[in-house]
Symmetry: C2
Subunit: 162 residues, 2 copies
DNA sequence: CGGGAAAACGCAATATTATTTCGTTTCCTT
DNA sequence: AAGGAAACGAAATAATATTGCGTTTTCCCG
């Protein structure tokens, strides 16, 4: 039996080297394979094979450059708790589809604990934020909106604890 | 006058090619420079020079692999609204420093709009989450804690709208 | 409107890295 | 302990990154 068994597998199929690879790539996604291999203690070819396998397994979902929002003109980040007047599946899905179309929407989480959704949005300025908030209130089935403006972010870690 | 004026600059110093580079690298941070150059329509050397410059300017803050939390054993993601009994700078800073030490803390935002902080935490299971929540309540100056468990995330976009 | 310098470009050469090939080793199963 | 699958690593090849440099473009400033 192999670790490569077709498609989905989990943490049980990973050894220490795999976990090191994930940790290194989470920390620096543009490291060269030669350097990665050196850090995890194996030679380049098997290291590259492991990375490819982790990608195919879906454990590595992608690679992204992290940009500086403020320098690109997106100086406002805010969260919104949204309550709907119905929890029917179709209503929830409709809401998700609608806010996902907005380019300013960065995250949309369905939650349990007081309201129905927690969104994270970005805005170019205060007026832009106001417009977004007003638009949100006008969305069908939205009955409550509570905004939390981000003043400063002291901790923002990508990914998963490793 | 050059676009390279020492250190910090902003969107005003970027042209269309720079913005294309940022968009491509945000979407795929491990693309080769040759392919990146092809996509943005210039040859490889100036493309690499632009990427280096964007990095030095701080516009590109880093590159990260995006991992699959559930496959790595982190199946629970939740948000916590935290209220403190004081808004003195030292108290706020102490709280931030403490939660930043927890490996489960992914984000810590100081907010305006009802409470003092919005945290995002990850847990391996329900018991782990309970322990984290209880630990949070015991933290000095914490007087209110409201948990929002993420049921499903329908939208999660990295970075900035481009 | 012209110079003229600075900036950016792209070709070509070189250095590094990625990827394939393949023989060897390790590990697991029986 | 033998057989076989999986993984490893050295070496060769392919591709990419990076440097050097001459040319073109851009943009001031007279």
């Amino acid at each position: 039996m192999s670790r490569v068994a077709g498609n989905h597998m989990s943490i049980a199929d990973l050894d220490d080297i795999d976990r090191s690879i994930l940790a290194e790539l989470q920390q620096d996604g543009r490291i060269t394979n030669v350097e990665l291999a050196r850090r995890v203690g194996i030679s380049a070819p098997p290291c590259l094979r492991r990375v490819r396998r982790l990608e195919e397994m879906g454990l590595i979902q992608g690679y992204h450059a992290t940009l500086a929002p403020a320098m690109l003109g997106w100086s406002i980040s805010f969260f919104v708790l949204v309550g709907l007047d119905s929890q029917k599946g179709a209503v929830l899905a409709e809401f998700e589809a609608l806010v996902a179309e907005w380019p300013e929407t960065r995250e949309c989480h369905m939650i349990r604990g007081g309201e129905d959704f927690l969104l994270r949005l970005m805005a170019r300025d205060a007026e832009h934020q106001n417009r977004l908030t007003r638009d949100l209130i006008e969305v069908a089935h939205v009955v409550r909106v509570q905004t939390f403006q981000v003043i400063r972010t002291s901790c923002e870690r990508a990914g998963v604890p490793l």
